[in-house]
Symmetry: C2
Subunit: 326 residues, 2 copies
């Protein structure tokens, strides 16, 4: 009998104090209540706002919503690393912008070329290989690449409160999607492991693809041409192309998510929109209207009128990153 | 006690003689055995060919694989009906090909204009409205439209053996997708009801979309420009764009499915490819190498070498269409 009590005591100690709370990293307050109230409303079988499981589609931006996007978008750091890795096979880059500046460590100078420079960097590093080859490049890179400011793995800099939110929605019958301005093939190799979101539930920007034979084997080649910019007004387009129905819940953090929030919450029936506002300069970063990364201006102004919940990271979140990784 | 026995007897009588057989409309034979063996192999937890649930992706062509495509592709009949319905607002069509011939009931003359004529018909009937409007047009049409040869609803002319196959795969952890040359937005409004396949698991040809405001409300407009022809080598591209991983099982019926079958079955590990061969002129249609609809030539030749199962509809299928609808 004493053994049984001991076992029970050990088990009880193992249960976190927050057992029963699906969002333990969220402080009690308006943001957390808005989320849990919405989920309760749409899942109450005899309620006026009940939504069938099939229609419980939730879409999440990635950069700045699910993981940190400072001091630079992760995918841009990936592209810079790829330029360096590929430089030995491109001796001409030593004299050619924007590559010359990148190889000299002058990122700002490289970006002086504007959109054209960015497009050249993206195509030189993201096209010209098969999809299988690109998947391996991303998988290898993400396993060791670290944030230049914190020294942590990028995949450690995902937001613990958002991981809990994803799990809470899925436990309530939601299908959770990423809808990101980032490249779809850049996210798919690790989205399942890091967020529990499988490749087929990732929507993102795309370059054109071509089916062809390579060394006698079928392959899908990545071509140097944009197919979809899944950002701003491109997000509802990406949602329609891939998902084919309007989500009922949408989570973003920047003006690039404005149209996706608008499209989601303008539909009939219960709707939920949420903006993650980066207000915590100490534990993460504080930025909004004037940031070169994740600019939040138009969407922040629209939030009160549209009924979107604005999360104040500093006050709404108990922790930012997963335990042991902060 | 007598009541209990009576209840049991009634229950037993209600169980079909085929209970336990997941594919009762398939005659015993090589095709059925190939399917059930494959499913058994990939789901046996301690087997050499076990495939985790997440990777159990199965793709199905639609026209001629899941439903009848004779005497004309259903979507083409839809387009002809739409030309007639829209004619009052287009008085100029009385003098303009290919519309003039369609309105005079001369379909072959209308098609004399080749691909350009088809493109004009598609754009005039599939573009220029919002996605919500198009969904309603399709939903209304499919509810009453009938096959010109059989007089049956098109949705009654789905293949019962394939419905059982879809259900068998899903019961074994597969995610089932449609990957069709047909328009994705033409299939999504009814794919869940008819096949149990939700909109987000339908891949198809697409026209370009644009997010915009309409009468003060957000809308997605359908533009008169092709975005993806999801046929032939376009099918692996559509699969990669939307699903983002290679399927392990593929089901088709025509040369338009050749590349999708090739891409699926060339992957590592256990793979399954199947071609529905239309051999039953009495219960359905018999056609292959010389058909103007669903031409099956190259893929039929490749099947033995590639190890693809070829279904002989006449001999492999006990029934073609769902009971009460034949």
């Amino acid at each position: 009998m004493r053994h049984v009590i001991l076992v029970l005591a050990v088990l009880a100690a193992a249960i976190p104090a927050t057992a029963g709370d699906p969002l333990p990293s969220w402080n009690d307050g308006a943001s957390k209540k808005a989320i849990t109230d919405f989920v309760a409303r749409v899942t109450q079988a005899d309620g006026a706002d009940f939504v069938p499981v099939a229609d419980r589609i939730a879409v999440f931006d990635n950069d700045g919503t699910l993981w940190a996007e400072q001091p630079l978008y992760v995918q841009f750091i990936f592209a810079l690393d790829r330029v360096k890795a590929l430089a030995p096979s491109h001796p001409e880059w030593k004299e050619k912008e924007p590559f010359k500046s990148i190889l000299e460590g002058k990122v700002e100078a490289a970006l002086a070329g504007g959109e054209r420079a960015i497009a050249e960097i993206v195509m030189a590093t993201h096209a010209g290989m098969t999809t299988d080859e690109f998947e391996k490049i991303v998988t290898d890179w993400i396993a060791t690449a670290r944030n230049p400011k914190t020294g942590k793995l990028f995949t450690e800099m995902v937001y613990q409160p958002m991981l809990e939110l994803l799990a809470h929605l899925r436990a309530n019958g939601f299908k959770t999607y990423i809808v990101s301005g980032g490249g779809v093939e850049f996210m798919r190799p690790w989205s399942e492991r890091v967020y529990g979101i499988p490749p087929e539930q990732v929507v993102g920007s795309r370059i054109k693809l071509k089916y062809d034979m390579r060394d006698g084997k079928p392959a899908i080649l990545r071509l140097p041409a944009i197919d979809l910019i899944d950002d701003g007004p491109g997000k509802p387009v990406g949602i329609q192309e891939v998902i084919g129905r309007r989500p009922i819940a949408c989570f973003g953090n920047s003006d690039g998510d404005f149209h996706m929030l608008q499209w989601t919450t303008a539909g009939d029936g219960p709707r939920f929109g949420l903006i993650v506002h980066h207000t915590d300069a100490e534990r993460e970063w504080a930025y909004d209207r004037k940031s070169h990364v994740g600019k939040l201006d138009q969407a922040l102004d629209a939030a009160p009128k549209e009924g979107w919940t604005v999360v104040d990271m500093k006050n709404d979140w108990k922790t930012i990153f997963p335990a042991g990784k902060e």
